[in-house]
Structure formats: structure tokens, C-alpha cells
């Protein structure tokens, strides 16, 4: 061992020295880069943070086109949404932000993170009924427009057109017809609905949101609930126990049409199995379509809104604002950010995006959606017959997905609702201002 020391010493020292030199040399460009930021050579650099990594390529093209038209602006795209809160902490948020619009983003709106966009001319081109989806989460100071919708996703029941045709089943428009369709498939030995209960969010997004949204006025319910604040109790007329009990049997009935062993299947399993035609229906939103088509290019798919009552006029579809555009309030590049946002909301940009991504454009006079996968829900979206899923109203501090999952397994509706009431009260009490 002692003999080995000098040799080891020599090689290690030269190694470290070499590495140190290389590192020091390499650090020079690194520090050069970190000095970036602020207008340089008359070019304003905008940071654009968007929330969907899968559409980075599309926005790269959009940015390229925008920069060609606006040579004085350089846009940097950032899809690392996890850096949004840190950027607020370091008081250096991105200039233009897209976010999925639900509880968490509403929280930022309430704190006044985003600038008021109501004066922008482009705000007038957004269909008011879609703008209401954003505004329903609360407006800063009661009147500001903190975000403009960019993409609206409509989720219903994805169905396999070939299986429906082969068994002579028409798209159901009433609950009874839907149950009859499920029985038909069951009798033919085909799984009516592919269940992926292992991923609890699919139960929340599917059975829970669809049934409650189709039966109740979810938006009004949560408005009352939030107005009540910390004073909510299980006995209060606004409680979950008072409103949701009627919807629970149908949620359980939906779950019972799933295949055996649904408890051990997750979302990815579900996509793979449904793409192979192992079930007739699938309670998923348009985000699953690209995965299904990727796994089986020949599959013929359609989507219809789940009819939860026996009156077809009452059938509604679940929507969510998948992307909403905002400008952060304290950005030093407000003018440039507004120009970029205007460009993003040009019909050619926003309509093309939504057509490509199986979503709906929020603009007035947007062309009718021709995507055959979405044909069954397009009319409902156009007529404004939709709701935002009840599950999206819960703050992350209430593990709603897990409560719904355990309700599906133990079928104890009373316990489920009283738990949700207690959880809602707990959070309301702690966050009351």
C-alpha cells in the first residue's frame, strides 16, 4: 500500500489540476450567459412560461413567426412550470404565463399576481361564455381580467365506434339508454367501461365529475360554499351531504360496469387496453386521444357527453380551461408582453393550436371543430352546455382523489360525504382571512 502512494498522488494531482483548468475555462461562457436579461441592443427579451411540455414544438414555431414580425422582441420559452413559484419568490417571474385554470391558479389571481387584461383589444375577441369559465374562479378586486382562455378541453365518454357498430348500439342520450348499452356489451362479453382505479385521479375526473356535473349545478354549489367560508357545517344547507347524496348511486353504478381487476390498472394500462379494443367506452378527456391513436392508428373513436338524467336536454359536458394566458403584474416589459399575447390570440395561432390538440378555441366565431373524435361534444360546447368538474374545485390540501377511490371500494356514501364536509371545513377554517 505504501508503495502505491506516490504514484497515486502524482496521477491524482495531475488529474485534479487538469480538471480544475478545464472547469475554469468552461466557466467563462457560463458566467457570460448568466448576465442575460433586460433589453440589450434594443431587443427586449420576454420569458414565456407555458404549462404543457408536449406542445413545446408548436410554440417554438409560433415564437419564430412572432420574432420574424417583431424583430425587436426575443421570446424564450420555458416549460418548467415548477419554476413559477420560485420565480415569484425571487421576484423575477416570467413575463407571459399560460396555466391550466383551476383552484391553484385562482389562488394566484386572488393575490394579484397577474395584470389586468380587460383593456386589451384582443380581450374582446374572446367568447364571453369562455371568459366566464375563467372569471368564475374569482376576479382580482372583483372586476379585473387576470387571464384570457387560450384552449378549452371538453371531456366526455370516449367510445370505440367499431364496437358500437358491431353490436348495434347507438350513442346513448339518456341515462337509461346508457345503462342499456352497458348491459348489451356486458351480455356480449365486452367490458362496457375500462376502469383505471389505481390512478385515483381518473375516478375523480371520470365517474365523480361526470355524474355530479351532469346532475347538479356544480358552479353554483361551490359559489355558495365559498361564500359561506369557515362557517360551513355538515348540517348546513350548503353542505356536500345535502347536495351530493343523490349522485352517489350512479357513480357506483358506473364503476360497476368496469372490468374485473380495474383496481390494479392505471391510466397508461387503460390507454393501452382501450386502444386494443378491450372495452367499448372509456371515461377520459381529449388528452387521452393522442395516446390512443399513437398506440393504434386504425382505431375509430368518438366522444359523447355522459347523459346522467333521462332528459337529453339536460346533458352537459365537462370542460376545463386547459391553457389561459396571463401577463405578470410587475413585468418591466409590459408593452412587449402585450404584443406577444395579442399575437398568441390571433385566430391563426389559437385556432390552429386547438385544432391540433383536440381542444376548443375560445374565440368568437371560431370555426366549428371538425375533429371526428370530438364530434359528439362539439355541439354542447358551442351551446355552452357545460360545467367545470366538481373535483377541480378542491384545494390540493384535500386528498379528494383518495376519498373518491375509497368510496368506490367501500361504497359507504354517508361516510364519504361527511369526510368531505369535515375536510372542506378544516381547510376553510385554516385559510379563512
Amino acid at each position: 500500500m505504501n508503495a502505491a502512494v506516490p504514484a497515486a498522488l502524482l496521477s491524482r494531482r495531475s488529474l485534479i489540476r487538469a480538471a480544475g483548468l478545464a472547469g475554469a475555462a468552461a466557466l467563462i461562457p457560463l458566467t457570460g450567459c448568466t448576465a442575460a436579461g433586460g433589453p440589450r441592443n434594443g431587443i427586449t427579451t420576454l420569458r414565456f412560461m407555458q404549462n404543457k411540455p408536449e406542445v413545446v414544438a408548436y410554440f417554438n414555431q409560433v415564437i419564430k413567426d412572432f420574432e420574424a414580425l417583431n424583430p425587436d422582441i426575443h421570446v424564450v420559452q420555458d416549460f418548467n412550470e415548477g419554476n413559477f413559484v420560485p420565480s415569484l419568490v425571487r421576484n423575477d417571474p416570467p413575463d407571459v404565463v399560460t396555466r391550466g385554470f383551476a383552484t391553484e391558479t385562482a389562488e394566484f389571481v386572488r393575490k394579484g399576481i397577474f395584470a389586468d387584461l380587460s383593456d386589451l383589444p384582443v380581450a374582446k375577441t374572446v367568447d364571453p361564455k369562455f371568459q366566464d369559465l375563467v372569471n368564475s374562479w374569482g376576479q382580482y378586486k372583483g372586476h379585473e381580467t387576470s387571464a384570457l382562455p387560450f384552449s378549452v378541453a371538453a371531456a366526455g365518454v370516449i367510445y370505440n365506434r367499431d364496437l358500437f357498430a358491431a353490436h348495434g348500439v347507438a350513442v346513448p342520450t339518456t341515462w337509461d339508454a346508457f345503462v342499456a348499452a352497458c348491459e348489451t356489451f356486458k351480455a356480449a362479453g365486452i367490458t362496457p367501461i375500462y376502469g383505471t382505479f389505481k390512478d385515483a385521479w381518473t375516478l375523480r375526473q371520470g365517474a365523480f365529475d361526470y355524474v355530479t356535473g351532469g346532475m347538479l349545478d356544480v358552479g353554483a354549489f361551490f359559489k355558495d360554499l365559498m361564500a359561506k367560508g369557515a362557517r360551513i357545517s355538515q348540517q348546513a344547507p350548503e353542505s356536500f351531504s345535502n347536495h351530493y347524496a343523490s349522485s352517489l348511486p350512479k357513480i357506483l353504478q358506473l364503476a360497476s360496469f368496469s372490468q374485473n381487476g380495474a383496481a390494479s390498472k392505471n391510466y397508461a394500462d387503460g390507454n393501452a387496453a382501450f386502444a386494443k379494443g378491450q372495452a367499448a367506452m372509456y371515461l377520459q378527456g381529449p388528452w387521452a386521444l393522442s395516446q390512443l391513436v399513437q398506440a393504434n392508428q386504425d382505431i375509430q373513436l368518438g366522444t359523447f357527453p355522459l347523459p346522467v338524467t333521462n332528459n337529453p336536454e339536460e346533458t352537459k359536458v365537462r370542460v376545463n380551461v386547459d391553457m389561459a394566458l396571463s401577463i405578470t403584474r410587475n413585468t418591466p416589459n409590459r408593452a412587449a408582453a402585450e404584443r406577444f399575447l395579442n399575437y398568441l390570440l390571433e385566430p391563426s395561432v389559437v385556432n390552429t393550436y386547438n385544432e391540433k390538440n383536440a381542444a376548443f378555441s375560445p374565440l368568437i366565431n371560431a370555426p366549428a371543430d371538425s375533429n371526428p373524435h370530438l364530434s359528439g361534444v362539439a355541439a354542447h360546447v358551442g351551446e355552452g352546455r357545460y360545467y367545470q368538474g366538481a373535483g377541480t374545485y378542491f384545494p390540493p390540501s384535500i386528498p379528494m382523489n383518495n376519498y373518491i377511490q375509497s368510496f368506490i371500494y367501500n361504497k359507504n356514501g354517508e361516510q364519504f360525504l361527511s369526510t368531505v364536509d369535515a375536510e372542506w371545513r378544516r381547510v376553510a377554517e385554516r385559510t379563512a382571512v
Partner: protein
């Protein structure tokens, strides 16, 4: 050759089995082979190790197979099948999509500085503490350093973001700095145990020859710490190369982001591009694999040296 292998090897492979070796007869080489040091090979342990190695090899096989599949090959079969035809273009696509060279450079710089910093800072601290153990201040500072291990990282992440932003460290340099800082308590713990085992007499003789404290450290202690340097270096390398949370939170400029964060590109909320993701993971893993294979001997020898002392 070693003494135990003196019998002529006639080349006739004996019958398989556990027949005891008979003197005078040529041994079946496959079952009585001895290593250079004269150890017998323990076949039961070897079999156990082979089974254990599957825990690494099977996931690695999946990674490679997935990286070479096209999207429609992914959904079919059990997933165990080797893809045919092979889709090498996944690597090219992932390379372009992640802007691989830039992200790789950023990650490499963070890692190099983290490793060098961890080695330099922790070994110095450990030497100072171990050789001044009789002083209250040094014992106290050891406890102080150790107590940092009990602070869960998520608790301090927001203050850290604020501090790094104020100090202009919201970039890869800040991440490297925090890696060094974060590792200092554990690495010092490792070093101190090792430094204590080095006889003080070695240093005393160097001092007799007129060496200063720095010379003693660099010429006597640091070379003797070699096995522990390798261990700490490998821990620092792996921790820094694979770190996701810190770069995600600290690095403000997306152009300087590190590989693990950039690779998030392939995982949407509802969509995962498995083939590109795995191709990209494989490219990111390559340096780790190479370093691990090269440095493995040092780690093992370090463990054994520490054990004998």
C-alpha cells in the same frame, strides 16, 4: 500461477457435479478454478450475486429496449420483446428536442464543481476537526455540521431560492454551491472516521522533516484519503448529476437548465413519450455508467481498506 494450481491441466473437462477432488487426478478446471489470490470461488454466493444483479440488468434492459421502440411497438406485447426494427432515430430526436449538448454542458459543469468542491471542502474540514478533537470548538462544529443532516430539504427550499436570487446565484453556479454545501455534513462524517484511523505518527515524522500543516495535509493526509475521496467523489457525482429538484427551483434561465429538468419535456400531465424519454434517459445515464464502472474498483478497495483498519 499460484501454488494451488500446480496440477497439469490436461484439458479434459471432468464431469459436472460436486465430486470431491481426488489427489493425482486432473481437476475439472471449471469447478475448481481458483483466483489469482488463491481464493476458492463460492458458487452459491456467485449465484446469489447473479440473481441480485438482475435487479440492475432487467431495468437496464427495459431502458434500452424502450429507447429503441417506435410508438406503436410500445403498446404491444408484454414489453419484454426486443424491438424489430430498431428505431435509432429516437436518439437523434431526443438529442434535438432537449438541445442535448447545451443541457449536457450545464449538467457537467455543475457536477464537476460539485465533486471538486465536495472533495476539497469536506476533507479539509474533516482533517481540522479530527486533529483538534480535544478542543471544544471543533467538537461543537462537528455537531453543528451533523445537525444539518436533520433539516429536511423542502423546509428550506423557499428561503434558499430567495437567498440565491439576492446573491446572483440563481444559475448553475448556485446549484453547484448548494450541492457542496448540502453534502458537507455527510461527507465530513465519512472523512472524519477515516482521518482518525490514520496514525498521527506519520504526520509527526513529516513535521520533523519541516513540513507545514498545509504540506502535511496535501502530501500525507490527502493521498492516504484516496479510497474515501473516491467514495465521496462518487456520491457527489451521482447526487449532483441526477439532481432534479434543486436545478428546477434555483436556475432561473431556462437556457441554462440541467438535463434531468430538461428531460421533463417528454412527460406531459397525461402524455408520456416513452421511447424518446428513454432514449434521452439513456444518453443522460451514459456518463454515470462510465464513471461508475471506472470508479468501482476504488470504492470497493476503499471499503476493504477501511474494514482492515
Amino acid at each position: 500461477m499460484t501454488a494451488s494450481n500446480t496440477l497439469p491441466d490436461a484439458g479434459n473437462a471432468g464431469p459436472a457435479g460436486t465430486a470431491p477432488s481426488q489427489p493425482g487426478k486432473p481437476r475439472p478446471p471449471r469447478f475448481r478454478r481458483t483466483s489469482r489470490e488463491g481464493y476458492r470461488i463460492n458458487w452459491w454466493l456467485t449465484a446469489l450475486m447473479l440473481v441480485a444483479s438482475l435487479t440492475i440488468l432487467v431495468p437496464l434492459y427495459f431502458t434500452v429496449a424502450m429507447a429503441l421502440k417506435s410508438p406503436d411497438q410500445i403498446g404491444t406485447g408484454t414489453g419484454l420483446a426486443w424491438p424489430n426494427p430498431l428505431n435509432w432515430e429516437n436518439f437523434a430526436k431526443a438529442y434535438v428536442a432537449t438541445n442535448f449538448p447545451k443541457a449536457f454542458l450545464s449538467t457537467a459543469l455543475v457536477t464537476i464543481f460539485s465533486v471538486l468542491g465536495a472533495l476539497a471542502s469536506s476533507s479539509l474540514v474533516a482533517y481540522a476537526i479530527a486533529r483538534n478533537w480535544n478542543r471544544r470548538f471543533f467538537r461543537g462544529s462537528f455537531v453543528y455540521l451533523l445537525s444539518a443532516m436533520f433539516i429536511p430539504f423542502p423546509v428550506i427550499i423557499l428561503p434558499l431560492i430567495k437567498q440565491t436570487a439576492l446573491l446572483g446565484l440563481d444559475n448553475p453556479a448556485g446549484v453547484a454551491f448548494l450541492h457542496i454545501l448540502g453534502g458537507i455534513s455527510f461527507n465530513t462524517l465519512l472523512y472524519i472516521a477515516f482521518v482518525r484511523a490514520i496514525p498521527v505518527e506519520l504526520e509527526e515524522s513529516a513535521r520533523m522533516d519541516g513540513a507545514t500543516t498545509w504540506q502535511v495535509f496535501f502530501k500525507i493526509i490527502l493521498p492516504l484519503l484516496a479510497p474515501m475521496n473516491a467514495t465521496v467523489g462518487i456520491f457527489a457525482f451521482l447526487g449532483s448529476w441526477n439532481d432534479f429538484l434543486l436545478p428546477q427551483m434555483i436556475i432561473a434561465d431556462p437556457a441554462l437548465q440541467t438535463l434531468p429538468v430538461v428531460q421533463m419535456l417528454f412527460q406531459g400531465e397525461f402524455n408520456t413519450d416513452y421511447s424518446l424519454a428513454f432514449a434521452s434517459y439513456l444518453m443522460a445515464m451514459a456518463p454515470t455508467l462510465v464513471v461508475y464502472i471506472l470508479a468501482q474498483r476504488w470504492v470497493l478497495s476503499g471499503v476493504m481498506r477501511g474494514a482492515v483498519k
